[in-house]
């Protein structure tokens, strides 16, 4: 099992060149997919028999929630890679993913609240999913704040790695206890994103939207990672040549 691929992954310059080729494809495909999915979901699908047209918010709320959670999982894996194999690229990914994840977490919270208004008549509902998303937002802000508070890059890298691993251990516990707390107090309310009753013509735009958002996230991450590489490798000759 030759590990050359794994070690090459470690060299930021190699990633910078490779991602240069991927970037245009990513940009085009993600924006096209998102456009198609949202137009399809907004204009061409019939309204839900129960919720009327307000369910169309599902085409951004569900992808945003999925993204917020899977970005945190990706950050935890990047953290594990930083701590175990000490690959600098993994730490750059960890640093870069945090604000993107936080932005999608906020989007999921806001769209969830907006969706709650026509369905339940109040802006904020202590629904299990929304509350866990709110706590996930705290985890994101914690990592971003810790990254800003520690100035030496090596210490900040490992401290944020430890914090995101502790957070990822904490997420299932939070989900379990919030769900348990929710059923204790309110009984089974209408679950916000119930999918079994999704008619096929609603399901397809949703899947397209989810794919579009994931591609969009990869594109944004590649963009930010390239900048982080330039910033961290500013002493090397290839960056100086690139700049001048």
């Amino acid at each position: 099992m030759n590990w050359t691929f794994f070690h090459k992954l470690g060299s930021p310059k190699w990633f910078y060149d490779i991602s240069g080729k991927w970037l245009p494809w990513l940009q085009v495909s993600s924006l096209v997919l998102i456009l198609v999915a949202l137009v399809w979901g907004l204009a061409f699908t019939p309204p839900d028999y129960l919720q009327g047209n307000s369910y169309r918010i599902i085409f951004i709320h569900v992808p945003a929630s999925f993204l917020a959670q899977s970005i945190y999982m990706m950050m935890a894996t990047a953290a594990a890679v930083t701590l175990i194999w000490r690959i600098k690229l993994a730490d750059m990914a960890l640093k870069v993913m945090a604000p993107v994840g936080a932005s999608f977490c906020i989007l999921s919270l806001v769209t969830g609240a907006i969706w709650g208004q026509p369905t339940w008549g109040t802006w904020w509902v202590w629904d299990a999913r929304l509350t866990s998303m709110l706590i996930l937002l705290f985890l994101y802000i914690g990592i971003i704040a810790l990254r800003g508070a520690i100035h030496t890059t090596e210490a900040a890298a490992k401290a944020c790695a430890i914090l995101s691993l502790v957070g990822v251990v904490n997420i299932p516990i939070i989900k379990f206890s919030v769900d348990w707390w929710n059923t204790l107090h309110q009984g089974a309310t209408l679950k916000l994103t119930e999918k079994p009753s999704m008619a096929p013509e609603m399901l397809w735009p949703l899947l397209l939207a989810i794919l579009g958002f994931y591609l969009f996230f990869t594109m944004v991450m590649v963009l930010r990672l390239r900048i982080e590489i330039i910033s961290r490798e500013r002493k090397t000759r290839w960056v100086k040549e690139l700049v001048s």
């Binding site: 701590l83 802000i141 810790l146 520690i150 210490a155 904490n170 939070i174």
Partner: protein, 238 residues
């Protein structure tokens, strides 16, 4: 010139690991007794939180007894957070943390001793004070025993989880707010199950499930938290 002799090496290092922990606990307890101001703050804060709520909401009995469990637990949670800030920072400032890192004994064990001594001076005292506050907040009498049980099981978890944040922010100048931000997500499950137990007892429903879950968190905390704390201390002090 009196020739200073050398102290002899200990032969069975494993047994000495616990004596090192005992020495650390004894050191921290003497430190707290020498300057008790550090230990009084969380208790005064706890009492103050319990007096603010009736002033803020309503002094009558039904409202307060409904809120009592939540108020006591949130007060205890914030008081523990208050006292966590100086846990490692005082050692960092006078160089004692380097000696801790240089010790041949496993760091997680020493860190567990430090967190235990912190719990003794903060969480445990809050638990002893809790009945006083429960009376002030008209907590029904049958809810007293679950309150004490949840506090006894829950406050060590608060100390353990909060120490991870304390270790991560040991070199951050004004790290108090950041410490709170890092520790709150870890406190939420404990708060949910603890207040759940007391409220269940108030509606005289069985609360053993909640207590068992709290002990699960305690065991999880005792096993995993020292590893994270030791890792964080090593990483920050590179």
């Amino acid at each position: 010139m009196v020739r200073g002799g050398k102290m002899s090496r200990v032969d069975q290092p494993s047994m000495r690991g616990f004596s090192a922990c005992l020495a650390l606990i004894r050191r921290d307890l003497t430190l707290t007794f020498r300057s008790p101001g550090q230990a009084i703050n969380p208790m005064a804060f706890f009492l103050m939180v319990a007096t603010l709520f009736p002033l803020g909401i309503a002094p009558d009995r039904e409202v307060l007894s409904e809120l009592a469990a939540g108020v006591i637990w949130i007060g205890a949670l914030l008081a523990v957070l208050l006292s966590l800030d100086s846990l490692f920072k005082s050692d960092q400032d006078d160089g004692a943390l380097d000696q801790l890192l240089m010790s041949p004994h496993p760091l997680p064990l020493l860190v567990l001793a430090k967190v235990f001594s912190h719990w003794l001076t903060s969480g445990f005292c809050l638990t002893l004070m809790a009945p006083l506050l429960a009376i002030m907040l008209h907590l029904p009498s049958e809810a007293f025993s679950p309150l004490m049980m949840t506090l006894l099981l829950g406050t060590p978890v608060l100390s353990l989880a909060g120490s991870i944040g304390a270790a991560l922010t040991v070199k951050v100048q004004r790290g108090g707010v950041l410490l709170t931000l890092l520790s709150l997500p870890l406190y939420i499950p404990v708060l949910i199950f603890a207040t759940g137990a007391v409220n269940a007892a108030m509606q005289n429903m069985p609360y053993t499930g909640h207590i068992l879950w709290l002990s699960v968190f305690l065991i999880l905390g005792v096993c995993l938290a020292p590893l994270a704390i030791a890792g964080a201390l090593r990483v920050i002090n590179e």
